[in-house]
Every structure is written in C-alpha cells, then in structure tokens.
Amino acid sequence: MVNPVFIIVVLLGAGFLLGLFRKTGISLARVAGLLALAFPLYVSVGWMLHFIGQTAQPYVVYTAGTVPPFSINLRMGPDEAFLTAAINMLGFFGFIYLFRLFKSQGVSTIILYLVLFMGLNVIVMTRDIFNLFVFLEIASIALIGLVLVNKGIDALSAGFKYLIAVSVISSILLVGIGFIYYYSGTLNIDGFIENNSLVMKGLSTAVFLVLVAVVLELKAFPANGWALDVYQSAHPGISALISAGTATASLFVLYKLLPFGGHLWLQVAAVIGLVTFVGSNMLGIAQKNANRLLGYSSVGQIGLLVAVIGFSDDLGSHLRMIFFGLFISHFLSKAGLFWLSGMAGEEEISKWSVLRKKPALLLIFGMFVFSLIGFPPFPSFYGKWQLVMDLSGNGQILWIALILLGTMFEGVYLFRWLGFAIKHEVDESKAPDTAAEKMIPAGAFALLLLGASWVSNAYFPGAMKTSFLPLYFILFLFLIDFLPLVIKNTLSILSLGYYGWRLYPSIQDDTLRLVFAGIFLIGGMLTLFAGYSEKGKRPGFYPFALMMYAGLIGLVEADNLFGFFFAWELMTMGSYILIIRGKKSLVHAYNYMLFSLGGALLILFGIALTVAGQPDISLSMLASPAYPGWAYALLAVGFLTKTAALGLHIWLPGAHAEAESDVSPMVSGILLKAGAFGLVILFLAMGGGEAGRHPLLYALGWLGALTALGGNLMAVFQEDAKRLLAYSSVGNLGYILFAFSFMTHIGWLTGLTYSINHFLFKTLLFLAIGGVVMRVKTHNMYEMGGLIKRMPWSFIAVLVGIITLAGIPPLSGFAGKWLFYNAVIAKGWFLQGALVFFAGTIAFLYCFKLIYSVFLGQEKDRFRKVKEAPVWYIIPQFILIVGIMIFSARPEIVLKPIGALLSQAAFFPSEPLAWENVTAYTNLGYWSGFNIMLVIGAMFVVLLGWLLLMSRKAQKVKQFNIVYAGEAPFTPETTHFSHNMFAPYNKALGFLIHPVATQFWLGVNNTFHALAESARKIYSGNGQSYIIHIVAYIVVVYLILS
C-alpha cells in the first residue's frame, strides 16, 4: 500500500511545478496532469482493495513526527478508501472530459484542477478540524476558479455569489472551530469525540456553529441559491465535479463531525436532509434548464444522503450499505448527467431529444435517470429499499413518507426530461458532441454503474434471491441490438419459452402462479409473434420488451417481498419504454410513468409497513403486517394504479391506445394482469380469516363496481377503436377487482376466470384492431367500415373477442358471468352487483359499435385496396381463439386445481364449486361449459348451413354513394353512422363520465407546479439575498434547537 500522503505530494507537487509551464507546454501539462491524477486513483483503489473483505485497522498518517492531537493526522480507513477512490475516479475521468477545454484555457486551469482534487482527498482523510477548514477553503476556491472557464457575466456573477457565500459559511466555521478549541482544548476530531460532552452551553453552541456550517456547505434547502447558480452557469464538466466530487467530500465531513453533536444532531441532520430532499426536488419540477435542474436534483440527493447519515442510529450496521447504494448511484449518475449535458449542448430539457441521434447516449441517459430515482438493478434501488425497511422497523413512518414524496417529485421532472429526450421533436441541424474525450468518461461511469449494481446485488441482504439471469439476457439483447429483427424476435420468443420450461417444475403445484405465468409467458410469446411483421431493425425494442416480461415473470417467481418489488420495478421500467415508443405517446407514457412510480412508491411504503424491519421478508409476511390497515391500503392502492381503478385510470387510455400495434396487446392484455396478480398475492395473504374481512375490502368492492361501470361507460362514447378497447380494459379490471374483493371461494374463481378471459380476448382484440389500424392508418372508427370483405380473418377474431367480452354463451365470458352471479348472490352484495350487471349491458353497446363500425356497413373508397392484416398478426389471434375455445369448453382444466388450492384452510374453504366431470355445481345451480358449447355449436352449424343454402337465392346490393348533392360534406365524420353512435345515451348518462379524475389530477399537478413556481422565487438571483438566507437559516435552526 502506498502511503496516502503521497496523494498530496504528487498532486500538489505537480500543481506547483506546472506553474513553470504556464506559457508553454500545455500539451505536456495535460499529460502530466492526467498522470498525476492517475496516481491518487491507484493509491486509493489499492487501499480500497486492501480493505475489502477483511477487517484491517485503518492506516493513520502522522505528520510532523508526532502523534495527534499534537499534530495533524490523516486516516485511510475503509470509508476513506472508498470515498477517495470515488473522488479520484471522478478526478481522472473528469480530467479526460475536459481535455480539449484545458487546451484553450491554459495551464492555470490544470493547476486548479489538480489542487481541487488534492483538497478533496485531504478533506476526506484529515482528522483535524482546522485542517479541514483549510482544505475546504482550498477546494472551494479551486472550484470557483474552475467555474470561470465559462466566460461571460453568468459564470462570473455565479462565481462571485458562490465566493461570498462560501466565505460567510467558512467564517462561521472558523468561529466555531475557535470556540471548540477554547472549550475542549483540542482540534482533533477523534480526541474531541472521546472526551467531550455537550453539557456546557458554550461548547454546544460552538459545535452548533461548526455543524451548521458543514450543513450549509452541503447546500441545505433553502439556503442554497448560491450553489444553484454555479451548477447552471459553470461548464458541465465542472458542475459534475461540484455535484459529485465536492459534495462527496462534504458529506464525509458531516459524517466525521456529526458525532460532535451527539444524538440531537443526528436528528437535526435527518430533518435538514429530508427537508432539503423534498424541498429541492419540489422546486425542481418547475425547472426547465437542464443544468439548473441537475443542480436541484443534486441538492436533493445530497439532502437524502445527509438524512441517511442522520439516521445512523436507526440504521445500525446497514448504514454503510444504504449509504453506498444511494451514494454511488447519485455520484455516478449525476456526474454522468452533467457530462451528458455538455455533450447534448442544450440547456432546455425539451431539446435533449438531440441525444436520439446517438442511441448509445440515450441509453446511458436513461440508465442515469432510472438509477437516480432508484429503479432496479441500480444500487440506489437496494439502498432505498433497505432504508425504508429499516426506518419502518424503527417506527419512523413520517420520514418514509417524506422520502417517498421527494422521490416522487424527482420522478416528475426526471421522467419529463427522459421523455423529451426519447420523444420530443428533434432539431435536425444539431447533433450531440461525441468526441472521444467526452464519450470515455460518460461510458466509463455508465459501466461503473452497472458494476456497482452487480456489487449491490451481490451484497444486499435479500438481493441475492433475485435471479439475474433475465437481466443478463436483457444486457445481451442490448449488445446484439444491431442484428436483424428476425433474429432478435426469434431469440426473444425462444427465451420466454425456455424460461417457462425452466420455471414450470417449481410452480406446477401452485396453480395460481401457473395461471399468471401462463398469461405472462404465453401471452408474451404470442404478442411477440406480431413483431415479425415489423420492418427495419426496431432498435431498442427487444431489450425493453424482455425487461417487461422479465419483470412480469419475476412477480410470479418471487417468493419474497424484495424479489416481488424488484420485479415490479423492472416491469414498470420496461413497459414505460415500450409505451413511449408510440408515435404520440410522449404525454401518455409520462402519465403512465408517474402513476406507476407513485404506485410503486406506495407499494414500497406498504411493504415497509408490513415488514417493519424484521429479517423475514417472505410473501407470507403479508398475512400479518406490522401496521395492517395502512399496509393493506397502501399496497392495494399501489396495485390499483396498475389495474387503473377508477380515479387512477387516467393514464391508461392514452398509454394503451397510442402504443404501437403490437405493444397495445402487451400492455393491455398482459401487463394489466400484473396489478391483478399483485391483488391476488395481497388478498390471498389476507386470506379467509380475520384479515380477509377487513373493511378495506368492502371499499375496494365498491371501487371495483364503480370502475366497471365507469370504464365501460367511457368506452361506449369513444370514436377511437383502440381507446374503446383501452377503456374497456379499465372496466374489465374493475370486474376483476370486484370479484376478488368478495374474498369467497366463488368470488375468487370469478376473478380468476375474468383475468384469464380478459387476457385472452383483450390480447386478441388489440391484435386484431392493431392489425386493422396498421392497414387503414387511422384509429377513428367513423373513418372505417365495411372491412369485413378486406379483412375477414380479423373480423372473425374480433367477433370471437366481443362474444367472449360480452359474456355471451357459449364462450368463456359466460362462464365468468355465471360464476359472478353465484358469487354475488352468495356474498349478498346486491347493490354493487347490480352496478356491475348494468356495466355488463353497457359492454354490449361498445362491442356492437366496435364490430359494426369497423367491419360492417359500407366499404370506404379509401380502403378498397387494403389487405388483410399481416399473417404474423393473424397467427397469434387464432392461437388465442383456440385458447378461448378450450377454456370455454373445458374450464375445469384450470378452475378445478385453482379451486383445490383455494380450498386450503388458510384461504377460502367454504362453499367451493363442485365439479362433476365437466359440469360445475353450486347450491344455486349448475353449468357445463362443454355442453353449452355442444348445443350452441350445433345451433350454429345448423343456422350456418341454412344460411348458406338460402344465400344462393340472395341478391347482391351494389354499394351506392350516400353523398348525392355533388359536394363532399364539410365534416365527413358527421355523416357517418358510427360517429357519435350513442348520442342518446350520452345525453342520458354523459354526466357520469364527466372527467372528474382527470380534473382532479390536473389540479394536483397544477397546484404543485404553482407551488414550485412561487417557492423558487426565493432564489432571486441576488447574491446578497443568498447570504441573508444563510444567516437566517443559521438563526432559525438555532432557534429551533434551543
């Protein structure tokens, strides 16, 4: 191991010597600088490796040949080694990033850069508070100098504000240090912590001054305007150093000094940190400038890390792990994002679409964004999980709520930004700067992020249980993205098949899981078939499609809450990207993501309230949560965001309708079942016992009934075929929720039958309509008509689909209805049942509209030449039809084993469905799918034969033009029979579909935006106000403390 003091020697020596080359030798200086920065990296990584996996004593560097407290000492322990390694990594790659800039700016900037990193290293290592003060000053001043590489008034005034703010803060720090010395007689950190208590008022005030100064250095909200200006105006390569580098060092300073303040200051840090996290992220939602936004985000993230340090006592031995997860994500992502900002060369977040021209950059951008918010498999996911679990274990519920709220705000602006990059219109004249010296650092940090993810997964408790196999396959798909579509599609289908085969033995006895695994995997394979008809390589589709399926199947596979949540997030991430691929999906995907994120956070909250810090995180914990009412409510609402229950449904129509033709069936037929599966897991754990009679379920039952009614009503009045189907999904998921809420044997069978049915017919319908839309290039039903002749196969598919949907015998929809009536009668929820029944009649209306407007009626001139949908659309449809037939004729194949499962004592043993061969009995009656099928089938054959016989005599009617006046109507859609088809109903029932939910969420959105807009006015831009904020902050904190 190299003595860490050589870090100082090399960096400072190089810095001083480079002074000789100010006028000449910039090239030499650049190389020398890079080499000088490689050295500390080598030293600190060496120490880090030394400390990994063993409990070695920290190495202490004594200066001046004396021991502390008489002289200054530096320490290189595991923490220091890790943090300096991170800082020096940043130093090295940050230098590469600025390589070209240095050439134009001269040797002075290289000197500043080297000294900055020397300072940061010492800040981390030193154990002396005055020394800390000196090197904090060094780092600040070097940074202020580096800010100036951007010319112009902005950087200049920002630098000045920063300078005066830092000077005030360090004056406070210095006074504090002076009094600490007076009262304690030492400047040594360890010596102070050992020997002093804060009983004396003078000493505690001195400690207050020191700690409040450190907190202010960390840019505590709202006294942080000075830092935001610098983030915005500095060169992105420099802002990256501030956000990742100085913040890291200052965080460690806080960690070192916080024990001065004892337990009280831990709480203070927690509060200050969380206020900063929530406040800064909230103000961020009104921000449009990329660099300033990153500034808000940095401040927020640092606040969270401060809070984590403040929670040290609660987190105990998990502290380092949590800190690592959150820190490394912030560190790598934020530096990377600032670098990307320099490469995008755009300040407006909406113009980041320029990144699309280099998909690799877009990918990295996405990685950084997801990692900041805490999606798997990135380290922050593990960190946030563990943090929330441990906090709930200590009863810190309010803190969890704040953390999740802050994360939500963060998601609001980060996903808006990511959405812009993926989807906003792009200025063709511009291109991102992809010079090698900029690509290398950004790429390196992206790779490090992946590495850190791997490490997190290897070391976090519970994390080991998640299977990384799908993730590796997704990574592989990223790597082969350049290959032709056929290969990728085939590989994807095969991989789903293989995974199913691999998974089958482990879940074959668990019919519930088997059913959902079947929906996810078979559905996945079928919908992927449609992909063969796509042209081009379809870049970026397969990794995310498979990510969604990996998440879905992970839900089924999970045997613990961690694995479940991991899969849930993975699915959300993949599906978001899939949805945003649609042409007009920008807004809809954004809405989807916000609801999903909100839902996921509620689920996380619910899980935390369930587990409450206990080591056992298996799914069975749901049976006896620590805070039952809250946990159940949060989890249920979380899952309901995915099933789009009424009020939480506003994202669904757009997201499903605007998605690509083969993505709509994936997200509507298959993805929605994730929410249903979540409910299944939750309700099953609540079981048939006491928990299963929670009043919450009664409310959910009502919600389900209302959702069914609302969804179907809204579907009726749609002109857009895909939106009609999408709203119909809302309604159908309402049935499912309603049925599960019964918490009875037959209720559950109903719910599952509905789930299977909905998967079958909605996938079928979306595929069929998707195929139609692909050919006619419009979603509007009033522009279609008469397509039966052009697309007969699609017609048959839609016909089968709507028969199933409407619950008409002989198809399986009827089975669901029959079970449903039984269940309602048994449960006695007649009022709600009537609502659902009413909703079912409404479904007839839109089914009729769908098939009639699209396929029947007059053929349109425009569409005389359209072909049948691509065969790759037709094949999966007919496989699904076969599936429907089988399920209709022999439902007992699935329902019997499920019934057996449900009859277990913990679940719903009473009043099970009795089976006799193919006939099901309840005490109300019996039903045999097979026999009905036979009867209706026979009737159908007879009628068909008769019709065929008769049709020989039939006379064909020629089509005629309905427009006789010789001029085209001004608004042709008003002359179409299917436009505003159900106008009378609209008059009668239209008030029911008044967009209350949309208005509500719009109001929430506007409120927060307005709040952020007015609150951020405190950052008036006046450097003096920022100083006033700082002083006021100090006084206010002191007031609160005393």
């Binding site: 000789l20 009262y183 003078g202 002083v1031």
Partner: protein, 232 residues
C-alpha cells in the same frame, strides 16, 4: 423597511448565538494539554524558540501547506481572470517623480533584505515566512510604483513561486523518508537552540514559505497593476 427589520432580526439572532458561544468564557489560567505539550516539548522536538513557528511549520505544517496553496490558488485565479483580458499597450502613465525613483532604488534592496531577515529568523523571533513574504511584496509594490511604464517580467516570480512551492512539498517528503513523518523538520540537525542555523528544516521551510508568499502576493499586485480591466 420590512427587509431592514428582518436584517436587524437575523443580526440580533447571530449576536445571540455568539453570546451563547462565549457564555462559558472565562480568563484562562493554565495551558491545556495540547498547548502545554507545545510549550514543554516543542522547543525540544523542533528546536524552534518561537513556539508559534514550531506550531505553524511543524505540528500544523499541513495547514501551512494548505494555506500557501490557497494563496497560490488565488494568485493563479486572479492571473487567469485578469491576464486573459487585454493588456495595457504603451499607455501613457503619469511620470514618476525623480525622488520616488531614487528613493526606491535605495529602499528596495533594504526592504528586500529585511524581508529575508524576517523569515530567516522566524524560528527565533516574532515573524516568519508570511510576514517576510509580505515585506518582500511591499518591495515589489514600491518597485512597481517607481518603474512605471516598464514591464515587469512574470517569469521570475513564477519560477520562484513554483520552485519554492515544490521545495516545500519536497521537504515535507524528506520528512517522511528521513524522519518521523510528512513535514517532520528533524531530518536536518536541530543545531544549537536559539541560533540562526538550528531547528532543523524550519528555517529552510520558512524561507521557502517566505519566498512563495512574497512571490504570490507580488504576482497578485503585479497582475492587478498591469490589467487593462475596467479601463476601456
């Protein structure tokens, strides 16, 4: 008005905090362990008669290194800010008086020598590198004032700056190799207590600090003098 009363309020708040901080103050009777150690063992360990020097150069040598670095940084940044702007080109200056030129020609070497004397004796008497350096810088000011119109070469200052800074670091390094640790001054003989050549490396280090501080401060002044900034 509201703003002013708010400012009064927060200033009063700060006053309150500071009063709390001094609330436990009473005149000190004894040295604490730390300074007691400096007083008793300092002279022995470092060989310096001036305890402040012993603390500044040796015990808290790392602080001093940092402090020199700060000055270096500020000089660099100021140079970076001002030198990138236009230089004065053949501008007409007020003629310097004959008296000032003559006087400064005599005074500059004397002042320079005083500065050197101060930092060479830093381990024995009050004063040292910073004070000596400041005196050197004042010689520079005088020179600039008397030599108006002529350009002063930066190279000499830059070389002094770089070499003395590097020398400081290098001596610190020698402390690791030859003695007990970074910036340990005992790798040179401590010599006879109270003599000029004593206290190990302290006089050498303090001289380097003096040169460096002098060069940095001179540099700052020089750049400020030369810049065309704000003089369109």
């Amino acid at each position: 008005m509201i703003r002013n009363s708010f400012l009064v309020l927060i200033t009063a708040g700060m006053a309150w905090i500071l009063l709390d901080a001094v609330s436990g103050y009473q005149s000190r009777e004894y040295l604490n362990d730390l300074s007691g150690y400096y007083a008793t063992s300092g002279p022995e360990e470092t060989g310096a008669a001036n305890l402040v020097t012993a603390v500044v150069v040796t015990y808290r040598g790392l602080d001093t290194l940092g402090e020199v670095t700060i000055l270096f940084l500020t000089a660099t940044i100021i140079g970076f800010m001002l030198r990138t702007s236009k230089r004065r080109e053949g501008s007409v200056r007020r003629a310097t008086s004959e008296v000032l030129v003559t006087a400064s020609n005599v005074l500059i070497p004397v002042i320079f020598l005083i500065g050197v004397y101060i930092f060479l004796n830093g381990h024995l008497t009050p004063g040292g590198g910073f004070q000596g350096g400041a005196v050197l810088a004042s010689a520079m000011i005088l020179w600039i004032m008397s030599q108006s119109g002529t350009k002063v070469s930066h190279s000499l200052l830059e070389i002094t700056e770089a070499i003395s800074g590097f020398g400081f670091v290098f001596l610190g390094l020698l402390g690791i190799i030859l003695a007990g640790g970074f910036l340990d001054n005992t790798f040179l003989s401590l010599g006879t207590f109270g003599k000029l050549i004593s206290a190990g490396a302290i006089p050498v280090i303090y001289s380097l600090i003096g040169l460096k501080v002098g060069a940095e401060l001179s540099n700052i002044i020089l750049v400020m003098n030369e810049t065309q900034e704000a003089e369109q």
